[in-house]
């Protein structure tokens, strides 16, 4: 029987109310210990106020080969950005 503990991905939310952010991964036998290990490995200097752990095997990632079809369509849609529009100075800040 392999005793290697499964891999978990660790997400931490910092002090300032931002989203949980992926910080790395670690091995642990179960979710409870994964959180304890994450506390020790990733928050030794007040990096967080909340921890999520997810089994790495549960993550579905987009394939590198899909980069084109997935992300290129956004390239030519400049009108989605505020800077596309000219607002006369007289109008003031918008």
């Amino acid at each position: 029987m392999s005793s290697e503990w499964p891999l978990w991905e660790v997400f931490i939310r910092g002090q300032h109310g931002l989203n949980h952010r992926h910080v790395g991964s670690l091995h642990a036998p179960d979710a409870e210990l994964a959180i304890r290990h994450a506390r020790d490995v990733y928050t030794r200097r007040n990096e967080g106020v909340s921890i999520w752990v997810v089994p790495s095997a549960q993550i579905t990632a987009s394939a590198p080969s899909e980069k084109g079809p997935l992300f290129e369509p956004a390239n030519d849609k400049v009108y989605r950005h505020p800077t596309f529009y000219d607002i006369p100075d007289e109008v003031g800040h918008m």
Binding site: M1, S2, S3, E4, W5, L7, G24, S25, L26, H27, P29, D30, L33, D40, V41, R44, R45, A61, A63, P64
Partner: protein
């Protein structure tokens, strides 16, 4: 450095793919685990990151040696925190290596079988409390020199691990310098201990950067792949130039008669370490190689029942949860 003399693997692959890969690296793009990469790149990185990770873990031993004998509670707390950081560094790096398709257990087994190496520096003993200062100041100082540029290395997970590590290293070097400064400013006996620590750690620290560029056979490919950023001699020179004034401030003497400022190159001339000693240490014949491997093997063996027990418990709990649903 922490990864000394990492042999780069030759790559025989589709030249078109190789060229596209090199173009990505030249353009400063990060390579991520699922991206196509040459076998040689993957294998060299496993070796390099693995060796770096093992160094962080084995590197806890010479300092851990003094935790119970730290002279004050404050120094003890500082040293504990420092050694705990090194455990964390090892874990960040193991995870980066694992994204390349090797398991944590395989990495550990390759360390214990001697197939993978760790830095030569950790095969030297820490004989006195002043050595703990010398380790933080010189050994972590040398490590920082190497790790800062690696934050820009081409492999994403490695670069990100380096960013975390570099954030934590500066505390390591500063607490070491602070410690040895207290001793250098103490009684004549304490100052003598500080000098003795510098005498013993100076050349082993210079060895951390690996052999001279003219004897370093693996650099070219690794530099093209941006998994090595500076040459060994560049970093060693930088380290000497940075450290000499720090020693002067302490009133300590670098144990090198040939140390001399060289106006033309804008750096110090200095003596090479004894490279025969370096190769002997790498072969396993350093003062502490056997001790270090013994300690790691014992920890792995004695911890087996804990790893197995917790896994068995987790499986049982999972089955119960399913049954209850």
């Amino acid at each position: 450095m922490y990864a000394q003399m990492v042999k780069s693997e030759a790559t025989e692959e589709d030249p078109e793919k190789l060229a596209a890969f090199q173009a990505r690296i030249d353009a400063g793009e990060r390579i991520e685990p699922k991206d196509w990469m040459p076998e040689g790149y993957r294998k060299t990185l496993i070796r390099q990151i693995g060796q770096h990770a093992h160094s962080e873990i084995v590197g806890q031993l010479p300092e851990g040696n003094w935790i119970t004998r730290a002279p004050t509670l404050e120094r003890k707390a500082i040293l504990l925190a420092k050694v705990q950081d090194e455990a964390g560094h090892g874990l960040y790096l193991y995870c980066a290596a694992e994204t390349l398709g090797i398991s944590r257990d395989e990495l550990t087994e390759q360390l214990l079988s001697g197939k993978m190496k760790y830095s030569s520096i950790f095969n030297y003993p820490t004989l006195t409390w002043a050595d703990i200062g010398a380790v933080g100041w010189l050994v972590d100082g040398a490590a920082i020199m190497n790790q800062v540029p690696l934050q820009r290395t081409s492999f994403g997970p490695y670069a990100r691990a380096m960013v975390r590590i570099c954030k934590e290293e500066s505390f390591h070097q500063r607490q070491g310098y602070d410690l040895i400064r207290k001793m250098a400013e103490g009684t004549p006996e304490q100052k003598a201990m500080a000098q003795d620590a510098l005498n013993r750690f100076w050349y082993p620290s210079l060895m951390m950067f690996g052999p001279s560029d003219k004897d370093s056979v693996h650099s070219t490919q690794s530099m093209a792949w941006k998994i090595k950023i500076n040459t060994n001699d560049e970093l060693r020179q930088k380290f000497v130039d940075q450290t000499v004034p720090q020693a002067e401030f302490l009133g300590l003497t670098i144990p090198d008669e040939n140390l001399k400022w060289n106006e033309d190159k804008g750096g110090y001339d200095f003596s090479e370490p004894d490279w025969n000693e370096f190769y002997e240490v790498l072969k396993g014949n350093g003062p502490c190689n056997a001790d270090r491997m013994e300690a790691r093997t014992r920890a792995w063996r004695d911890g087996a029942w804990v790893r197995d027990g917790l896994m068995a418990h987790a499986r049982k709990q999972a089955t119960r949860r399913v049954a209850a649903e």
